[in-house]
């Protein structure tokens, strides 16, 4: 077997694995899509306990906000990554140096009321809000430098030359319109019967089932899921069949 054939065989096995991953996840995405489609949106003032779907504006609880580390924006949830571009012989790729989340409780408000949201363990689907690339001749801004120093990292490498690095943030800011599908449960911060308004006695959090948060409206979420399901089931199947074909061709089993 030649070198090229061996590499093709390896790639095909990798593709086979990817195809199986896509195919299996296609069923999961189909189940999640159906759950979102089949659950009507509740008004917050009349939330019932159990799995609910709500849509509204994110507002801080007790004016408590967190700072996004790179953009310095006030937010209610933030996910960030720091990556470095590394070369190894002929190949090069991005390596994730740090990936973390920061969160605080916030209220989701619609025209009828507000409900507390705990984003812990949620599948949070939000687009990237900030990106900065630093490289030779392009230093990161001061707040990123301070953040790197406080985490024992540096943007400078060998002989003080800048490394090629990438800083990304994904956040939910006050005022963002947010979709939440989760479990409405008792609010542990409110003593039973102490609140006149029932919505303050309820909190949405991770329960036994699906917990999903996005800053897209439901129609766009379902559109994305449609593509994921098609890609997963049919794309995954096609990838499996094509990779098997290539593998058996190389192994002279066809």
């Amino acid at each position: 077997m030649s070198d090229a054939e061996f590499k093709t065989l390896l790639l095909s096995f990798f593709g086979l694995g990817a195809g199986i991953y896509l195919f299996v996840n296609g069923f999961r995405w189909l189940r999640e899509k159906r759950l979102i489609e089949n659950t009507p949106t509740s008004k917050i003032r009349s939330l019932a306990m159990g799995l609910v779907e709500v849509f509204g504006e994110a507002t801080p609880k007790d004016e408590k906000l967190i700072k996004a580390p790179f953009s310095n924006k006030d937010c209610l949830y933030c996910k960030y990554t720091i990556e470095e571009y590394r070369k190894s012989g002929k190949s090069s790729h991005w390596v994730t140096l740090k990936k973390a989340e920061d969160r605080t409780f916030f209220y989701l408000k619609d025209e009828t009321g507000a409900v507390l949201i705990d984003t812990e363990c949620a599948n949070i689907d939000i687009p990237m809000d900030f990106e900065f690339d630093s490289s030779g001749g392009k230093d990161p801004p001061e707040n990123i430098v301070k953040f790197l120093e406080s985490n024992g990292m540096s943007f400078e490498g060998f002989l003080g030359f800048n490394k090629t690095m990438r800083y990304r943030e994904y956040f939910i800011a006050p005022g963002d319109r947010v979709y939440v599908m989760g479990t409405a449960d008792d609010n542990p911060f409110v003593y039973e019967g102490s609140s006149q308004k029932s919505e303050h006695d309820i909190m949405i959090r991770k329960g036994d089932s699906f917990y999903y948060i996005s800053d897209k409206p439901e129609k766009d979420i379902l559109g994305n899921y449609e593509w994921k399901v098609i890609g997963g089931l049919f794309g995954g199947s096609a990838t499996i069949i094509v990779c098997l074909f290539v593998i058996f061709s190389i192994l002279n089993m066809l």
Partner: protein, 189 residues
């Protein structure tokens, strides 16, 4: 036929069958979930209807002293409450709910003519509580109807209708009062 080709054909057919079967089973489960959601959302309305019905005797007791001449109005509320307590079917409950809502609207409108009543703290709290319950009932009625609508659309759409027909999923009715059964509550000032 080379073994590799046979394996590829076998895998392809298996994948297709798996997608087809999983879709069919998933559709059935989805319809079951929708049907159970309707029952759950109905139960959630029922809870609030009962809470509101339980508040009515307190409300009548708090206003009777001030609005002694509004006997017809108290009777209509009492009759509407009795209709709700005796209602067995959803249609009966929807009609009773309509009667109670109408009677309460009239009562609160008439109460505007009695300033001493309006200033009574007990009455104000009850009014606030019942108005809150009315709003929640309206929301949950809308939610129930959304659930029913989603379910009805699913069982009548292709390809879900095939599973729905085979597994006997029937249409469900919306929560609404029948026009002929509605009784208008009139108050005399």
């Amino acid at each position: 036929m080379a073994i590799g080709f046979a394996i590829i054909v076998g895998v392809g057919v298996s994948l297709f069958l798996l997608i087809f079967l999983t879709y069919a089973v998933g559709t059935f489960n989805s319809l079951v979930r929708l049907r159970n959601n309707i029952d759950k959302s109905w139960a959630n309305i029922d809870v609030l209807l009962k809470q509101r019905a339980d508040e009515l005797p307190n409300l009548i007791a708090s206003v009777k002293g001030y609005m002694a001449h509004e006997r017809e109005l108290f009777e209509s509320i009492t009759n509407a409450r009795a209709a709700m307590m005796n209602a067995k079917t959803m249609e009966d409950k929807a009609n009773a709910d309509y009667m109670i809502s109408g009677a309460l609207k009239t009562l609160f409108a008439v109460a505007e003519n009695y300033p001493t009543l309006k200033a009574n703290e007990n009455f104000m709290q009850l009014q606030q509580r019942i108005t809150g319950l009315e709003n929640e009932i309206a929301d949950r009625r809308e939610f129930y109807n959304d659930s029913v609508n989603t379910y009805n659309i699913r069982i009548e759409s292709f390809p879900e209708m095939i599973v729905a027909e085979l597994m006997h999923f029937d249409r469900r009715e919306l929560f609404q009062a029948v026009e002929s059964e509605r009784i208008n509550v009139k108050a005399e000032f």
